[in-house]
């Protein structure tokens, strides 16, 4: 007998779809046949049916014709662009936050520890501007006055 036919018979037997006589014959044959392949076939059919039963019981949505059920791998693939977008947003958020906090830290540090001001260097004597200084004008405002000329 072909292995496909044996498989089909075993499945029908497990589903209790064989006539009592046929079921009895099959059971006797399985029990007495020394072929280890047959025993392994029976075991595999039972395992497959058990997995199918567990799966349909666990996931009721699979049996609903009105629902479109997508395989998980497919739905995971569909989620990929969203995951990518979410990770980009997260990266931007983290780097923005890190930049902001670093800037704030620097600003506060600058406020608490003022740098010593550099003394304003007078213009070098060689500079033509060294001869001038600012003085208040009698007419109001400021005026440039030469240093080297008195009155």
């Amino acid at each position: 007998m072909k292995i496909e036919s044996i498989r089909a018979l075993l499945i029908d037997r497990e589903f209790d779809e064989l006539t009592p006589e046929a079921a009895e014959l099959l059971d006797d044959w399985v029990a007495t046949d020394p072929d280890p392949e047959l025993a392994s076939e029976v075991k595999k059919v039972r395992e497959t049916l058990s997995a199918a039963a567990k799966t349909t019981n666990l996931f009721p949505e699979l049996g609903r014709p009105e629902l479109i059920v997508t395989p998980l791998r497919q739905s995971r693939r569909a989620l990929l662009p969203f995951a990518l977008a979410a990770s980009i947003i997260l990266l931007i958020g983290i780097s923005g936050w890190a930049g902001f906090s670093a800037g704030q830290h620097n600003f506060q540090a600058r406020l608490t520890k003022p740098k010593p001001l550099k003394p304003i260097q007078p213009a070098t004597p060689s500079s033509p501007w060294a001869q001038y200084k600012l003085a208040s004008s009698p007419e109001g405002g400021l005026m440039a006055v030469r240093n080297d000329l008195k009155n």
Partner: protein, 169 residues
């Protein structure tokens, strides 16, 4: 001439199938109250058909056929409210750790809706080939071949997974 009501013991059918039908609706729509209402609606429709003289070769299958139509109609009426329930199911699906079951789910999810429904009626509700055929309005031979085909696909996947696991080891 008025059709003669068929001689069917509705009470006996209710005793035999009431609980199964209740489980069928509860599994699809959740909630015992909804299930009880839909069971009542199913039996009401069955009673009407018997009254019209409908002959019942396979009462259980016939009842599941009525239940199937009521379930689809109910789902269409209450689609937004039920969407949450479906998502909840999907979440529980994603958390399943058993790789074998996850692989089996992949195979079944990829099957056509009718084949998925045949599997559900067989494995979750224990209907025979003849009862499934009556419920779905298709020949029993088609039920058998679709069921065997689905099981063969599952078997192939499981064998391939087994080989892969052995190769890794």
């Amino acid at each position: 001439m008025k059709p003669k009501p068929a001689n069917v013991d509705l009470e006996q059918i209710f005793r035999e199938c009431g609980n199964d039908l209740s489980a069928y609706f509860a599994r699809r729509h959740g909630g015992a109250e909804i299930a009880a209402d839909l069971v009542q609606e199913s039996f009401l429709q069955l009673a009407r058909r018997i009254q019209k003289g409908q002959a019942l070769q396979c009462p259980r299958g016939y009842l599941f056929g009525i239940a199937r139509h009521i379930s689809v109609a109910f789902f269409r009426r209450n689609q937004p409210a039920l969407a949450q329930g479906v998502n909840d199911v999907a979440t529980s699906v994603a958390e399943q750790p058993d790789e074998r079951i996850a692989a089996a789910r992949e195979v079944i999810a990829a099957l056509p809706p009718l084949q998925r429904e045949i599997l559900d009626l067989r494995f979750s509700h224990g209907l025979s080939y003849a009862e499934i055929a009556t419920a779905l309005g298709i020949p029993a031979g088609t039920v058998r071949s679709r069921l065997h085909h689905a099981i063969a696909l599952l078997r192939e996947t499981m064998d391939a997974d087994e080989h892969r696991t052995r190769a890794k080891a």
